[in-house]
Subunit: 429 residues, 2 copies
């Protein structure tokens, strides 16, 4: 199945493609247009997925007080309520952890209930949930490590089927498989996924993950994800698409512990990967508010320090870089989602000052800056408009969900740029 | 078409897989076995392809005295006769230059006759000839550079069809396309191949090169070639094979201007690429007998120096490394060919002391060391054996062509390890 690249979409810093105009016709309960009447139009949700990991709030969601050990750290349950407020005030998409070694430490005893409860907690609050990752060579279960490769394959298939099925309807977006560029030649520790990818090949391993997940939940959005932004990932994606594997979106990691990419590199990465014609998700974004990791470190996990504080200069830099980075990402039409890798410095991966909230629970400038984008500059605040003789008002704003209120009654509508004619709403009685 | 990797063949430093045993039965002209007779058994050719570029001898082959300008340098015609003797004493495979920018500087006027003459000159001397490369983004013709991409594709197809057809029977091995990992994102200079690969995708561009060449010469051996030995090339090859493109062998470049890879890295590269189950050709091998290029240089072409001499210490090191390297390569069953990138320091690419022969025409220690491997240690010298009562002698040696002489008469036979029973020869009258 020949796959033809597309001409890369051109970035637009005005973000015109993130907005839409609509002529909103407001009708009363009886269907007649509400003429020359004051109505309040406001945005209620973004179409764009502003994501963040939700690891820190799993305990809170489950009503826990004691802190459970976690494969990727996380803030304490004591901090969680305050973090939850800050989290929900900005983000609409949560990545939850399905690292197999943590999720099914003991074979046959997956942490399903706990994660389901957490996923539902987010869903009830209007947050879309994503699961990460279904297959990865790191944080794989110890019991998998020495299984014959045929049994590894069977276990991978079984795990994907079980979890995608169990979570269907609550978690419908998954990183089906993670970091396949290096997977078959990953040599830091022996593991079953590496042996599987070495034996079967990368493409066959990716196919197995995608087909298994797809069968378990045909409605799911399935991603291929990687930290490798080089030609290696380009070649991998090309081979995968040419092989006819149904990838719904490309995941691009950007853990910038060693320094902000800058606009030029970011746009070049987006250009190269947008050619595949798939939505781009920046799945794992990190910017530091402290000292940068030295450039010679190849595996970020190798950088172990006793103390890595957030500093005033670092925080100012982080806020500036974050705004520049989000503006750049949203300027590119192919980008559909950006997930920040952790709201809290407390329990942050690698102990890095990577969060948007300090260890003491106070928001950093970067938090305020991001909130200002997501909830102010890129948000249609409640605005009073007067309908014309046809009961219509012009609405211009960021794509998403909206509500119009008049005479104590409220109706929802969507601004998605597809409306050919007016958007009609009827206020309930 | 799912492609399954193979278990990588295990290297054997004894080179047992490079040799075979046979029971040779020598018969006289009338068919009766030559019993209890002294016969001389000798090797006449290697099965293994010991290659070197033949660029330096094109002028000699064409009877030229004046030195023609060449896209990749080369020794002077005055030096060529002596170089030819040294060349033919070691190598059995020649790479000839088909850099499109040099071969068809003016559109419609390819250098066909000159290269055909050179190819025949080698063929008459028992040398197998290979053409390099049919498609590459570097040294492409100036007239190609600004053509619309559809015309670039048409020109590439036409060039491949024309040259593979014109040279069929003389040049039956080709690098169908070169350095595709970087091709679509190559940014040092604008060129048509990069635009083609960017627009169509890597795999489609590779498919076009291979299918066009295959149609022009169904018997040809077609290679994919690259300098990139990283996971990027692994991912590219996987995608290409999964897409069902008929690659006959994988070309791996090893221009070690920055230092000998060493046994460990070499074996790891061979292991990773042998998984595809294709023969491996080390197509472009360089070891220096002088100062190494600094490690921070990314594009070897960027290293421009006035003088880069061969030194006694460098020559000793080069000889040692070359022997270690060839032993390592031949120890791996997947390796079918090694081509050294230039016999002469005179006119060497980048002006590097990369040759096996000094500027003054004298052989370096590396030349002698390689010759000692190819013509002594790995060669069955003329050996007198006495046939038994059945007219047979045991032959053990490197795979290749052999001859047996007795009573002034000579017959040829092949030692290829496939003979189930005795190898029978009949001496002519």
């Amino acid at each position: 199945m020949p796959h033809r690249p597309i001409a890369p979409p051109v970035p637009d810093p005005t973000l015109a493609h993130r907005t839409a105009d609509a002529r909103l016709v407001v009708r009363g309960p009886d269907g007649t247009p509400l003429r020359r009447t004051d109505v309040v139009v406001e945005q209620t949700a973004h179409a764009f997925r502003f994501g963040c990991i939700g690891f820190d709030l799993i305990g809170l969601a489950n009503g826990e007080t004691a802190d459970a050990p976690s494969v990727f750290g996380g803030a304490s349950n004591a901090s969680a309520p305050a973090l939850a407020d800050l989290w929900l005030d900005v983000f609409n998409t949560a990545t939850l952890p399905f690292y197999w070694g943590g999720f099914e430490r003991e074979r046959g005893r997956p942490d399903t209930e706990r994660l389901l409860t957490a996923a539902r907690w987010f869903a009830e609050r209007g947050v879309e949930v994503k699961g990460h990752p279904l297959a990865w060579h790191t944080v794989a279960p110890a019991w998998l490590r020495d299984l014959p490769v045929d049994e590894v394959e069977a276990a991978v298939r079984a795990r994907i089927t079980r979890d995608v099925t169990d979570f269907a309807g609550v978690v419908d977006t998954w990183d089906a498989i993670n970091e396949v560029v290096i997977m078959p030649v990953f040599d830091k520790e022996p593991n079953g996924l590496t042996r599987l990818a070495w034996d079967r090949g990368r493409i066959a391993t990716i196919r197995l993950a995608f087909e298994t997940a797809r069968e378990a939940n045909p409605r799911a959005t399935l991603l291929l994800n990687d930290f490798d932004m080089s030609t290696a990932y380009e070649c991998l994606v090309e081979g995968v698409l040419e092989a006819g594997i149904g990838v719904d979106a490309l995941g691009l990691q950007s853990h910038m512990h060693q320094g902000y990419w800058g606009e030029e590199k970011t746009l070049r990465v987006l250009e190269r990967f947008s050619r595949f014609g798939l939505p781009l998700h920046l799945t794992e974004t990190t910017l530091l508010s402290g000292e940068l990791m030295p450039p010679e470190i190849e595996d970020l996990n190798d950088h172990v320090v006793d103390s890595w504080p957030s500093t005033p200069e670092g925080e100012a830099r982080q806020a500036d870089e974050l705004v520049r980075h989000y503006r750049t990402l949203l300027s590119h039409p192919s980008v559909a989602s950006v997930t920040y890798w952790g709201i809290a410095d407390e329990g942050a991966w690698l102990g890095a000052p990577a969060g948007l909230v300090r260890v003491d629970g106070t928001p950093k400038p970067a938090y305020d800056a991001l909130r200002a984008l997501v909830r102010d500059e890129w948000w249609h605040a409640p605005t009073t408009l007067t309908t014309d003789d046809d009961g219509a008002v012009p609405v211009h704003g960021f794509l998403g969900e909206y509500a119009v209120t008049a005479a104590g009654s409220r109706a929802a509508f969507t601004l998605d740029g597809t409306a050919a004619g007016p958007v009609e709403v009827r206020l309930p009685a």
